[in-house]
């Protein structure tokens, strides 16, 4: 498969050095050290394993309590402006990501954030819609879009900011099979580095590298063929135990 290789500067990729995150007194991520440079990376774990916290940490939405996080050499929590060019996120629920009442405003927002004028950004949004064969969507209220169409809108609005890396948070959750297939095809064609976070091994089986997070630690790291069988076996063992009585916090 020929994908443009990510730039291989010494600080390229996402680097975590002993990053610790505590939330409300309890440790959610324990001294995590990772260096992510592959083009397709999967992060798997159960609900509450800390994988969403890891996503927030990489995206700079939270800062580590101790340790260090760098995205292509940038501190994601403090240098927000530079990070916008390096990293985008596709949130699990498009309703939490879409900020504007109409499609064109939503698409233009990212460009305005990068410093473009409003008229210029709106024109770029309409041009992009036309390229995608959806010119008639420009002034449509986002509330009239289907779930799959909203996912598409979120993806395009992230892509318009041209980040080098995109974080995907449970990208296929709650979508019907044709929509999943369409979205997966769109992802596969992207030149960006994709980091997919999911509880579902199927969502990451085509990745170059899979990292398994459990209780805030890395318990598996390697090619999907090496990590996923053991992950699935462990999930099946836990699933066979009837009780689910532990409370968080």
């Amino acid at each position: 498969m020929s994908r443009p290789a990510p730039p291989l500067a010494p600080d390229a990729g996402i680097r975590l050095d002993a990053a610790v995150v505590r939330l409300g007194g309890s440790v959610v991520l324990e001294a995590m050290t990772l260096h992510l440079t592959e083009a397709r990376i999967g992060i798997v774990g159960r609900n509450g394993s800390g994988k969403s916290t890891l996503l927030r940490l990489m995206a700079g939405l939270i800062a580590p309590d101790t340790g260090r996080v760098r995205v292509d050499g940038i501190d994601p929590a403090t240098d927000r402006k530079a990070l916008l060019r390096r990293l985008g996120i596709l949130f699990q629920n498009p309703d939490h990501q879409i900020l504007f009442p109409t499609v064109e405003e939503e698409l233009a927002f990212g460009l305005i954030q990068l410093g473009q004028g409003k008229a210029e950004a709106l024109a770029a949004a309409r041009q992009r819609l036309a390229q995608e064969g959806r010119a008639h969507w420009a002034t449509a209220p986002v509330s009239t879009l289907s779930q799959g169409q909203r996912h598409w809108l979120c993806l395009i609005s992230v892509l318009m900011m041209q980040p080098a890396t995109i974080l995907l948070d449970e990208p296929f959750a709650g979508l019907d099979l044709p929509t999943q297939a369409r979205l997966a095809r769109a992802f596969a064609a992207l030149p960006q580095r994709l980091i997919t976070i999911s509880h579902d091994p199927a969502a990451v089986e085509a990745a170059d590298r899979v990292i398994w997070i459990e209780a805030g630690r890395v318990v598996g790291d390697g090619p999907p063929g090496a990590v996923l069988p053991e992950f699935q076996a462990q999930m099946a063992r836990w699933g066979a135990v009837d009780a689910d009585t532990d409370l968080a916090g």
Binding site: I89, F91, P101, F109, Q113, S157
Partner: protein
Amino acid sequence: MLTLTSPVETPLHRLPAGVKLAALAGYTALLFALQAPGALALAGLPVLTLIAGGGRVFAAHAGRMLRPLWPFLLVVAVWHLATGAALEGLAIGLRLVIAVAAANLVTMTTRLSDMIAVIERLAAPLTPVLPPRRLALAIALAIRFVPVLSERVTQIAAAWRARSPRRAGWRVLAPAALAALDDAEQVAEALRARGGAG
């Protein structure tokens, strides 16, 4: 989102929003200065003409928007007939109807985007505390989330009904407010992920 702007195009639609708003302010002040029912009726003629000039659909729309006034007109009528000051009552009623109709006329003939532009211009002196971009973002976010939260309120009411013989009523309020609070946290994160509120 549905707005109250009339889809029926009238010449007023083409006037700048700022001009219409200034005219409305002056006109309303005039209505409050007039006391005689005859003078008020005369002053109301231009508004009536403009509404009628918009055609049947437009006029019916304008009429519907006056409906919430009827309880007040009823109170005024009863009060003034009882106290024997019918002419005064007529003046009050006329002023009310004309003032509301004139204001509605501006709303019906001005696009939402033009109104937002006027608001941003009016708020310009506040720039040090409230950058226009942030105000525009707040307006857009609120409009965007009205259908989302309406849907949520409906779902909460349905979830209540599914397990209770009674209607949810005020009991939707706490879960609805919690939903809004949760959404606000998530949206803040999504906003931050795309460069923040500036």
